[in-house]
């Protein structure tokens, strides 16, 4: 009966995830998944009550209340621009929890609960896997959190020995896991945890800020796999199902994000993109069309079709409301405004969509890569706010460019391109952007938010 109830919870998770596949049903889907979680928690509490052993309810309740309070405050207070950090942190807590569950299981050997679980080698293997994956997810997520928050440098940090450094750590952790499992040596698990903790840190440090969409997706996947392994440890199929679902979901996103950058996952994880300088940029002499907000306002006002391309700079400047207000003013002048969103714009998959949704931009004017590119040739003005590498024509034209082959938004095909950017400095990839020097490009050097507000003001004066 208990097992069947966990199956019910698993089914609710699947229905919930299905719901998350369409904007109309997404909110309901999330709620269904939450009900599944409530079911799983409820049946576990019932099971614990049924055990002959008296349970330490205060530990459950105190821990649960602390966690709920922290989770609720974080979820309700977070600004939408800080969503990637929050998801990274939640991933970390999930992975950490799975590792702790496995640890508690080793510590509890000899108590009644552990005694009715037959301790077989395969269980110990899953304990080791649960600890290793959970701890790597935990420390890796918090490094990612630090990078997103700006506490840790967003630049890739080169390790001594490069990727071999982490290879050695991986070998050491495997060895300590084998020691723990084969020789029944609990100390091995603790060593494993320490090494995995370091591996999580050194694994994410060499990865640059712009690759974060891949990393967060991967950590998301790992937090699911860790939960699944914890399910093997405690012999619970509810955990196995839910963990596998999340593992699959995160993995699909990881692959999609890597594809959107035309790089393999291995390249993202180990190449330290941007650490070996992409060559000096001789931007100095080339002429650019520097524009004023008034110039931009005029070209926008007399356009018929405008496409906005948002990037990470929009999030940094918290400019999502400013862009929406400008769009509304344009729509009042019968200008069509749409948004073209590159899959890796921002710091996590779908980051820009959430920000624009917050500013009340309806989701049906948000275009993805395949929808956007055919439209640029018929677009009068493309307004680029804080995006750089994803609109770099080198990726299409210059076979020697490090980003050659990456799918881009072909904004240079539009009649006029307006780039709002603080300076000419190259993007994360450290690559010069020929778009900036095109005759059809207007550069507006400013912070994204004040630029949009100034354009808006100028527009009202026309």
């Amino acid at each position: 009966m208990i097992a069947l109830t966990y199956l019910l919870a698993g089914a609710l998770f699947i229905i919930g995830l299905r719901g998350l596949g369409s904007p109309r049903t997404a909110r309901r889907g999330n709620q269904i998944a939450a009900v599944g979680m409530a079911v799983a928690i409820g049946v576990t509490v019932v099971w614990v009550t049924d055990q002959p052993l008296s349970a330490l309810w205060w530990v459950v309740i105190v821990g649960g209340l602390i966690g709920s309070a922290i989770g609720a405050v974080l979820a309700l207070k977070v600004q939408m621009t800080a969503m990637p950090e929050l998801v990274a942190a939640f991933n970390g807590f999930g992975g950490g929890a799975s590792a702790l569950v496995a640890f508690a299981e080793i510590v509890a050997v000899g108590t009644v609960v552990a005694a009715d679980v037959k301790y077989a080698t395969q269980t110990e293997v899953t304990v080791a896997l649960s600890i290793a994956i959970g701890v790597v997810t935990f420390s890796g997520s918090f490094v990612a959190f630090g990078k997103l928050k700006g506490i840790v440098t967003g630049r890739p940090v080169a390790l001594p020995g490069g990727p071999y450094f982490n290879l050695v750590l991986a070998i050491v952790s495997t060895a300590s896991a084998v020691w723990a499992v084969a020789f029944n040596e609990p100390l091995g698990y603790w060593i494993l945890a320490v090494v995995a903790f370091v591996l999580g840190i050194t694994g994410v440090m060499p990865i640059g800020g712009a690759d974060m969409p891949v990393v967060i997706s991967l950590l998301n996947s790992l937090s699911g796999v860790a939960a699944s392994m914890a399910g093997f440890v405690i012999g619970n199929q509810g955990l196995i199902i839910a963990g596998a679902l999340v593992g699959a979901a995160g993995f699909i996103l990881t692959v999609q994000m890597s594809e959107a950058m035309n790089r393999s996952l291995a390249n993202v994880l180990f190449a330290g993109f941007g650490t070996e300088g992409a060559g000096p940029i001789d931007a100095g002499d080339k002429p650019v069309n520097s524009a004023t907000p008034e110039d931009v306002a005029i070209s926008l006002a007399y356009a018929q079709k405008v496409i906005v391309v948002p990037g990470y700079g929009l999030a940094v400047a918290q400019a999502q409301h400013a862009v929406r207000e400008l769009a509304v003013a344009l729509e009042e002048r019968e200008v069509t405004v749409e948004y073209a969103i590159h899959p890796v714009a921002g710091r996590m998959p779908g980051h820009m969509n959430v920000l624009l949704a917050e500013a009340d931009v309806p989701y049906d004017v948000l275009l993805d890569l395949d929808q956007s590119n055919p439209r640029f040739p018929h677009t009068d003005v493309v307004l680029i706010v804080g995006a750089n590498d994803v609109v770099n024509p080198s990726a299409r034209d210059d076979a020697t460019s490090p980003i050659y082959g990456m799918p881009i938004l072909e904004v240079d095909l539009a009649a006029t391109t307006v780039v709002i950017k603080r300076s000419l400095s190259p993007g994360f990839a450290g690559i010069d952007n020929p778009l900036f020097y095109l005759p059809s490009t207007m550069m507006l050097f400013s912070d994204a938010k004040s630029a949009l507000e100034n354009i808006h003001e100028a527009l009202l004066d026309l």
Binding site: I14, W47, V59, G63, G71, A227, I234, L245, A249, P362
Partner: protein
Amino acid sequence: MSPDFIQGIVVFVLAAFVGFEVISKVPPTLHTPLMSGANAISGITIVGAIIAAAFGEGAVAIVLGLLAMAFAMINVVGGFLVTDRMLEMFKKKPVVKK
């Protein structure tokens, strides 16, 4: 290998395939809510945390149980709430405007 363990692997593999099937069609607009929603589901490890916390013996086990409970609940409560908050904002274009 015990039958239970083999059954566990069967369940794991099948669930992973279901996950691939269900999620591969999600539009990019929903990627962030999908991720945070999936993340909340990975908080299922709360089940293990409850058991660990309820039957911890000795100081170390109790600390582990407390931490596991707190971590898992942050993930569950925070994950579902923040996903709901995000999805509440996703609106379709009002028909009147067209």
